[in-house]
């Protein structure tokens, strides 16, 4: 057998990669650039509007955190090669389960919350089971669930309560041990102190006179950050993370080397449902009510945040940090346009444009990584 040429240390045909090109193939790059641009833009246009005061920051942080919670689930699922279009309906459905068990049936709120998680995560498992068993595109299967769950979300409250919004949950949750985990605030003492030393403004009149205008960090934000850290850790630092990439990259190749692809996909559907339920529970505790129209279009917003964050729609590539930045861009722009006094319908125009740009950029990056031409 002839000896081949490759005994030398370097292959002269491989160009050394410039560092910006190396940075470009990181999935988060688009998200990082976008975040910087968005902040610069609003610093310039809306700095005086209070957007970067304590109340303003809290405002867009909460909105971003909402996007983040569902984006983490959608991100991991998309990297595993699947979509879930039923996220928005799941949010409405989970909220309604909590309302019906706690208000209509009068059960304790903690039990209603646990039941909501059990039922919704089971729905996610069913979604995943149908997808892996039938081999149908998850797009179609979860589209079916989008309608099924939304239908029930409207049907149950109308049947039991003759209305589509069930309120009174905040009173019911008074003194509950589990509800504050979703509806409470942390660091309230710290913010009280900040108010006392004059670092943040306090109310000067009314029933809350003397209290800081920002009471604390809502649990919603804590959940969002915790889920981002968990998702990022799972994806990049564990064996399971490698399986997620492999399942989405090429399911058949992954099966050949013994990766339990079906289990990975079903678990990711369950995790997406879990995230949707966290979102729903936080929202129900914040508003004190559950509505049949909650969560409309959230599935698409989650997917857009994930795509802005650099994930490929075809699976196998993406980043949780990127998705979180996508969600941050989303929240900042949505609220920022309000602070800047721009007509809010333009938000949708922005959404469409940034989605288009992100997809084009991602396709280019994909060519860079795989060397396709």
């Amino acid at each position: 057998m002839s000896e081949t040429r490759q005994s030398n240390d370097r292959d002269e045909r491989i160009k050394s990669m410039s560092s910006w090109r190396k940075a470009l193939i990181r999935p988060e790059l688009g998200g990082i650039c976008g975040t910087i641009l968005v902040f610069i833009f609003f610093m310039l246009t809306a700095f005086d509007s209070g957007m970067f005061g304590p109340a303003g920051v809290l405002n867009w942080s909460v909105v971003s955190a909402q996007f983040m919670i569902i984006a983490v689930g959608a991100c991991l699922l998309m990297i595993a090669g699947e979509f879930d279009l039923s996220v928005g309906s799941m949010i409405g459905f989970a909220g309604m389960i909590i309302a019906i068990f706690s208000i209509t049936l009068g059960w304790p709120v903690w039990l209603a919350i646990i039941l909501a998680f059990v039922i919704c995560v089971s729905c996610g498992a069913l979604n995943g089971f149908i997808v892996v068993r039938t081999g149908l595109p998850s797009f179609i299967v979860t589209l079916a669930f989008l309608f099924i769950l939304r239908g029930f979300t409207i049907f149950f409250p109308q049947t039991f309560e003759r209305k589509t919004i069930i309120g009174g949950i905040r009173d019911a949750a008074e003194g509950d041990w589990l509800a504050p985990l979703f509806g409470g605030k942390i660091l309230t003492g710290f913010f009280q102190w900040l108010g006392e030393v004059g670092l943040i403004e306090v109310f000067v009149r009314g029933s809350r006179k003397g209290q800081p205008i920002v009471e604390g960090v809502p649990m919603l934000i804590v959940w969002a950050l915790a889920l981002v850290v968990f998702g990022h850790f799972l994806l990049t630092r564990t064996r399971f993370g490698n399986w997620i990439f492999a399942s989405g990259g090429d399911a058949q190749a992954a099966r050949y080397v013994g990766v339990p692809v079906n289990r990975v996909k079903i678990l990711m559907f369950m995790f997406t449902a879990f995230c949707a339920t966290v979102f729903a529970t936080c929202q129900v505790m914040e508003f004190g009510s559950a509505g049949a129209d909650r969560g409309l279009l959230k599935e698409f917003e989650a997917i857009i945040a994930v795509v802005i964050g650099g994930a490929l729609l075809t699976g196998g590539y993406g980043s949780v940090i990127g998705a979180a930045l996508g969600a941050l861009i989303f929240g900042v722009v949505q609220q920022g346009l309000f602070f800047a006094g721009v007509e809010s319908s333009l938000f949708r125009v922005f959404l469409g444009l940034i989605l288009l740009m992100a997809v084009i950029l991602n396709t280019y990056i994909r060519r860079l990584i795989t060397g396709e031409r």
């Binding site: 081949t4 292959d11 193939i25 090429d250 058949q252 013994g258 196998g316």
Partner: protein, 259 residues
């Protein structure tokens, strides 16, 4: 003569009314490269899928290291030490070389009781193994998509060897490659064989087979047309056997040489 590591006797495989394999016998020794030749549809793929546990034979026996074996699924075969490298389904282009290398066999490092993917170990071993196969990577985090077809085959072969394959089945590793890449893959096969691993090399290219093979078995229409040792058979004879004789000889006459 020592006992063959894998011995398959009178294997038959029927898919409904189709008889894909009608009594094929085959064996391979450690440190030997046994080429399985045949034209498209001869039953090569069905046969190796039987050997690697994807299909259960309808009749016949498989002996592994002298003991009768029954593989319920590919996992069993892999555990026993039979690894298969498929032509196109071996690698995931978007993932890095090291993540591909350890896919399904991820190295684990304990950190505060949590089992973590050991990136450092994975990248070090990947670079080491690839260098020993004659491929210098820019880095273990380079995506497999940037490698050539031959390099991908080599990664897959190195992976199988690293995870303790005793028998390596290569399904047409050279059929989609250029001349130089083919030479590289064949050199890799040669290295693997010399390290004492049994190689089953499936191809329909007689020249590739003769370059590395110790023995040659020709399949045609689900049957073996006999096994020949290296030096006992000419390329023309092999080619004729694969094509089923007659008409190939006339065809070659009109084309002016061995195809």
């Amino acid at each position: 003569m020592p006992e063959p590591i894998v011995k398959m006797v009178d294997i038959e495989k029927h898919f409904g009314s189709v008889i894909a394999l009608a009594g094929v016998s085959f064996d391979v020794h450690a440190g030997e490269c046994h080429c399985l030749l045949g034209d498209n549809g001869a039953g090569k793929s069905t046969f190796i899928k039987t050997m690697s546990g994807v299909h259960e034979p309808s009749a016949g026996q498989i002996f592994f290291e002298g003991n009768p074996m029954q593989f319920a699924d590919p996992r069993d075969a892999i555990t026993a030490g039979i690894a298969t490298v498929y032509q196109d389904l071996a690698m995931i282009p978007l993932m890095s070389v090291s993540r591909n290398f350890f896919m399904g066999n991820e190295p684990i490092r304990k950190f505060m009781g949590l089992p973590l993917y050991d990136h450092e170990h994975a990248e070090r071993v990947t670079l080491e193994k690839m260098r020993s196969m004659g491929i210098n990577l820019r880095g273990a985090d380079q995506a497999v998509g940037t490698l050539s077809g031959g390099e991908r085959q080599t990664v897959a072969i190195a992976r199988a060897v690293h995870f303790g394959a005793k028998v390596l089945i290569l399904d047409e590793p050279t059929s989609a490659l250029g001349v130089r890449q083919t030479a590289n893959v064949l050199a890799t096969v040669d290295k693997v064989r010399k390290s004492g691993i049994a190689v089953v090399f499936i191809t329909h290219n007689v020249r590739h087979a003769l370059a590395v093979g110790d023995r040659f078995t020709v399949l045609n229409r689900g049957k073996t047309l006999g096994t020949a040792k290296r030096g006992e058979i000419t390329p023309e004879k092999l080619q004729d056997l694969m094509a089923g004789g007659m008409e190939m000889a006339t065809l070659e006459g009109s084309l002016g040489g061995t195809v």
